[in-house]
């Protein structure tokens, strides 16, 4: 059964800062079908119209978080956005806002990952060494499904940067860690294998830290994985101010015999 093919216009933001090229939009006519994604359309344009088009992508299935861009005015993953759902004959692709631009649709994630790294996004537990070399020294924690539920949605983050690009505070405050890093700080705080909340609280509880979030909620609005960073930030604020108590019991270790 043949599928109906439509023609759409793809307007792509073009610039190359290394060549001091002035920013402009290039237009490409692309044939699309019902299931064609924006990434498919961009790759079509790159293959048959202009091979110099700069796009970053990898998995094509919303797992790697590489192809984030502003599509028709909203931060989205190009591989996860079907042309048909946009209900528009002209698709405008811009690089993600709040990120330094490198070329065309490719942005620099250095600062974004630095914020993520700063909140120490890994399990802190004094009982367990992080320098395990021998396989026999590996240990397991006992965790109930209820324990997992407390942080599970936040662990779906793929670090695509869409929330960071939608955040109005990040747009004005470069020191603000952003919704991704702050929600990950909550993710590890809520995890009962982790005992490093005081370390993490000291990191986020500063002048340009968590309190500069104005709860606009646009981060949660654009997340392609259903994570609610705004919720994580508010819950973490509650812990910091003492309204809610993080009364988790640190998970015990499972012995080899169990």
């Amino acid at each position: 059964m043949s599928e109906e093919t439509n023609k759409i216009k793809l307007k792509v933001y073009r610039t190359n800062y290394n060549k001091e090229e002035s920013p402009h939009y290039d237009e490409f006519d692309v044939s699309v079908k019902r299931w064609t994604t924006v990434l498919d359309a961009l790759l079509d344009a790159k293959s048959y119209s202009d091979s110099s088009l700069g796009i970053r992508y990898s998995c094509r299935m919303a797992s790697c978080g590489s192809c984030g861009m502003k599509i028709n005015g909203r931060p989205r993953l190009a591989c996860y956005t079907k042309i048909s759902e946009l209900n528009d004959q002209t698709i405008v692709c811009d690089p993600l806002p709040n990120f330094p631009r490198i070329r065309d649709l490719v942005t620099d994630f250095t600062e974004f990952f630095a914020h993520h790294k700063k909140i120490e996004p890994y399990i802190h537990n004094e009982k367990v060494s992080i320098d395990v070399v021998k396989k026999d020294d590996l240990v397991e924690f006992k965790q109930t499904p209820e324990d997992v539920d407390k942080y599970l949605q936040f662990s779906y983050c793929i670090k695509c940067g869409l929330c960071y690009s939608a955040c109005p505070t990040v747009a004005t405050d470069t020191k603000f860690p952003g919704p991704q890093a702050l929600s990950q700080a909550y993710r590890y705080t809520a995890d009962n294998r982790d005992s490093g909340e005081s370390t993490r609280f000291n990191i986020v509880d500063e002048r340009h830290g968590i309190w500069r979030c104005h709860f606009a909620g646009s981060c949660s609005n654009v997340c392609p994985k259903g994570v609610d960073p705004a919720l994580g930030i508010q819950l973490l604020k509650g812990h910091l101010i003492g309204i809610t108590k993080n009364d988790k019991k640190i998970a015990t270790l499972r012995s080899k015999e169990e």
Partner: protein
């Protein structure tokens, strides 16, 4: 200065509490305006009579303190987001703190003079 060493969560706790208290006391203040026709309550002798009531004087002083702390900290937060460097942050914090103390001192002076304490 120890006040400047407060953690941001402590400052925000003060910010939220002063905000809630200001709403509560301003509501009482407005209710006082409504116990008689609004225009009449603002007539000179009625205002002076309010100033001679010690409970009302305390209420006015509390409103002044809570609104000044809440308002000036809010201003500090807005200004902090404009630039991100140590000099700007420290200058803004000191200036806002000085302005807050100045407004509270001037307001308290007015309340004391008005109440003839």
């Amino acid at each position: 200065m120890p006040l400047l060493k407060l953690r941001e969560s402590q400052i925000m706790k003060i910010h939220y509490l002063t905000g809630i208290c200001a709403v509560f006391f301003v509501a009482i203040h407005i209710l006082f305006r409504l116990i008689m026709p609004f225009g009449q309550s603002l007539e000179f002798h009625n205002v002076v009579a309010n100033y001679h009531n010690i409970y009302y004087v305390i209420l006015l002083e509390l409103i002044l303190v809570f609104i000044s702390i809440h308002g000036f900290n809010g201003l500090r937060i807005i200004l902090l987001e404009l630039k991100q460097n140590q000099w700007w942050e420290s200058t803004i914090t000191i200036l806002v703190l000085a302005a807050m103390i100045g407004v509270i001192a001037y307001g308290t002076r007015t309340i004391i003079i008005g109440s003839q304490l």
